[in-house]
Symmetry: C2
Subunit: 503 residues, 2 copies
């Protein structure tokens, strides 16, 4: 097998892998959006068979020979091809380290667990979900050790979502955030409380659906290639750069919930939609890491979506859609409302300032379970304890506690820290953008697409060509520096405190 | 390979085929419901690869050897296994007769054609769609000849949807319908015209969605295993008996359109949901033929859904959902409205009496194209001519003409006649049911589930164990007799003519 043949073999097999992944991802998406509640078994069966097939393709003799040949003859490859094979090999090593039957069983477990979680959450039935969660954590730990037998399994899991991240680094990062956020939050809490009750007036879901379309338009999401669906827990997925899906969840008495879900997922979608054409149907398509991905969702959700300029931009549409509900308020009130900071139970509903504390809880619990220092069955109690400690509130049930997120039921252990990291990346990227563009003016003028163009040039179009740290440095002109994030929060909340008449 | 091994091999490969089919069907369903408009290419790519894989499984040496062994040793099989292998072989012979690359290309063509049709229909752009349609007809003809080189290709296509049906039989069947329907329609047209304008008042789509749920409840569809989605052209699909999907299309100014789509598709869904457990994940699961399938959708749509008893049953809910729109009418008026018969342009909106004429147009055109006597490019003109001839109306555009149905873009050539046949089966089945159950009383009492139980016992639970003619005869106690259908139409429309004060 010469290098050219090897590359052709690699591409041919990879396209089959892509087809399996597309089908598997679609089965998942279907399961949490359109599928009837009782249909998990058949979907699990099909997912199991397609996962087995994907596994066989990854581990086939032809694929192994091709990859070995390409790794050996890297000099003969283009830059793109070289990156492709290195990236493929890195991801494949993980899957290849898992015994075939365990991998298939795991995919079926995830499929089933998702269905069980979907019922357990509204029913406050942690006991029904716990056995599945225990198996998922056990599998995550086992797989991490298959992959890197000599490393701490939680370090391995962190690294899988955010390359290079370790518990030691995460501890330092969260420590620094805690040091700055806690006093700031204390000052906010000491300020007069803003009455945001008007945000919880009944808003018909049909009008909220129209708002979603409008919001995606304001941030320049091309709807030709991106649709929206409804699900319990909002997420974004992409089958390719011309087929991206965002989901949301509507609450009649809280239009801001879906509003910020949509902007958040819209940020993820923009990243995927902007990936370079030359990477399509290769493993270099789409976002490079969860941290960079979350930087985009957070940048759009918080730094744009919660800015005073953006609220002023969209207020006429809000008033049009909810004329009675917003009759007695203006943009200033909506801006203060969507930036109100108070300790709360639900991560996805948390304000920008308390959000990292929600992440810290999950980070610490995951770490303890993987380390074997905490049993899954003790999670509800440990969860409640941490919420009391960090947020000062009591957790009344598991629906609003440990069952609130979909991540664990989907097997995503080690994912949560990248949310907090993403916010920090976002602040640094935004600061770099402000050096080149009149960000406030563009938002005010409804020209956010020009910011998307900047982000596309600096980040999106590069797909997975560069590691997160390299990409961030090339975008911002300096290495990662979390001070931008704490500076941003201090500036923003000082403004809000002043507006509220606090100190 | 002994018989036991052969059967195990057959089952193992068949389950992989099932997984591919599930994924392919889901890709299609996704494409016409949730997917963004511009996403056809990636879906086509994945569909092509999975179709190729399915084809390889069907034609693998292991599968061929197993099937040959099982066909040879049929005596050692159970009745179910024997039927399974014969049915599989019958269907597989068709696919196996198509060269691999043509089959893959065809699946990609269908995927693309569907997307083109979806744009062409609202744009009245037949020219954009015609090249795809030409290729689809050419493929249908070519595949029919690969499969049965000595038969008339349109006979082969008819037989694929309704086993045993030939052009000669269809000509006789349609001839007899025309003979009875045309004078009956003339008498209806001579009666005073009923003013049904209240049916076209604006009804919010949210309320129509709630009506869909209610209607599916009235006919006993188990929503745990059946969900509803929205698409251009309503259809039903099943991935297995616990995962059935119906779709509908809402029009603000015509709630009856979706109402009868939902009841129609609900009939299809009941058939699939009632299939015997022992057939699951085998080729014996689900409906035996398109004709029997359509008999169930028509039975629920027309014979139950348009009965006076059913309208009386559901009227309180209609009034609740559309209080202003139906303020000045009662069940009698709704019953007369939903049974109003007038020549019209759209097949799916046609009344029960003119419906077979719409089918006749399509039947005759398909036949001519496959025979090479009509070019696809001349279809709009030929379509208009036949509508003038049979229905006496002018076709103003292709949106409401040749582009109205999704069947041809989906490759379903030879399917249409089974709709008309289905209505005739339905009338005969209903007559048999009336001999055992108090049908009118059950509908009036909202106990339609007892009729579903009867149908399940007689038809649904048997899956594909019996050929359509055998199944119908065992259900009705006599062979197929289309007189039940014409008798039913005459009785029903005589009642309506009398109610309208006609003769």
């Amino acid at each position: 097998m010469n290098t050219k043949e090897a590359y052709e073999t690699f591409r041919a097999i990879y396209e089959k892998i892509y087809a399996c992944q597309h089908a598997l991802e679609l089965l998942y998406t279907d399961g949490v959006t359109a599928a009837p509640a009782g249909s998990a078994d058949g979907r699990g069966k099909t997912s199991g068979i397609l996962s087995q097939l994907e596994y066989e393709l990854h581990t086939s003799a032809d694929m192994k020979e091709a990859v070995a040949c390409l790794i050996q003859n890297q000099d003969e490859l283009t830059d793109l091809q070289r990156r492709e094979i290195i990236e493929y090999n890195r991801r494949n090593e993980f899957i290849a380290s898992i015994p075939a039957d365990e991998y298939v069983e795991y995919r079926m477990l995830i499929n089933k667990a998702e269905a069980v979680w979907r019922r357990a959450k509204p029913a406050d039935d942690f006991a029904a979900f716990a056995p599945y969660l225990e198996k998922i954590f056990a599998a995550a730990r086992r797989f991490a050790l298959y992959y890197r037998p000599n490393d701490d399994p939680y370090d391995t899991l962190l690294d899988m979502y955010e390359r290079g991240l370790t518990q030691a680094q995460a501890d330092v990062f969260f420590g620094s955030l805690r040091e700055k956020i806690v006093p700031l939050l204390r000052r906010v809490m000491a300020s007069p409380e803003f009455d945001d009750s008007f945000m919880y007036r009944n808003c018909p879901i049909e009008a909220q659906r129209r708002l979603s379309d409008y919001l995606l338009d304001t941030i320049g999401v091309d709807r030709e290639y991106c649709s929206i669906a409804e699900t319990e827990h909002p997420f974004t997925t992409r089958f390719n750069k011309r087929d991206v899906r965002v989901t949301t969840h509507y609450y009649e008495n809280n239009f801001a919930s879906s509003m910020y879900s949509v902007i958040h997922e819209g940020g993820h979608a923009l990243y995927e939609l902007g990936s370079g054409d030359e990477y399509e149907y290769t493993c270099l398509a789409g976002g490079i890491s969860m941290g960079i991905h979350e930087s985009q969702s957070r940048l759009f959700e918080n730094m744009i979506g919660r800015s005073r300029e953006y609220i002023e931009l969209i207020f006429p549409k809000l008033r049009e859609l909810f004329p009675e509900q917003l009759a007695d308020v203006g943009p200033r009130e909506v801006w203060l409302a969507v930036n109100k900071s108070r300790p709360s139970l639900i991560r996805t509903e948390a304000d920008e300032l308390t959000y990292p504390l929600h992440i810290m809880v999950r980070y610490e619990l995951e770490r303890e379970i993987i380390a074997g220092r905490l049993s899954v069955y003790d999670l509800p109690a440990a969860w409640a304890e941490k919420y009391r400690e960090y947020l000062g509130i009591d957790v009344p049930d598991n629906t609003r506690g440990v069952l609130q997120d979909s991540h664990w039921s989907g097997g995503m252990i080690g994912y949560f820290p990248s949310y907090a990291l993403g916010s920090a990346y976002a602040a640094q990227i935004m600061a770099a953008m402000r050096r080149e563009l009149d960000v406030s003016g563009l938002i005010r003028a409804g020209r956010i697409k020009e910011m998307v163009a900047w982000l596309t040039r600096k980040i999106y179009r590069h797909g997975c060509m560069y590691d997160p740290a390299v990409l961030l440095e090339s975008c911002c002109g300096e290495p990662f520096n979390p001070d931008y994030y704490t500076d941003y929060l201090e500036e923003k909340y000082n403004l809000i405190i002043a507006e509220l008449g606090g100190r």
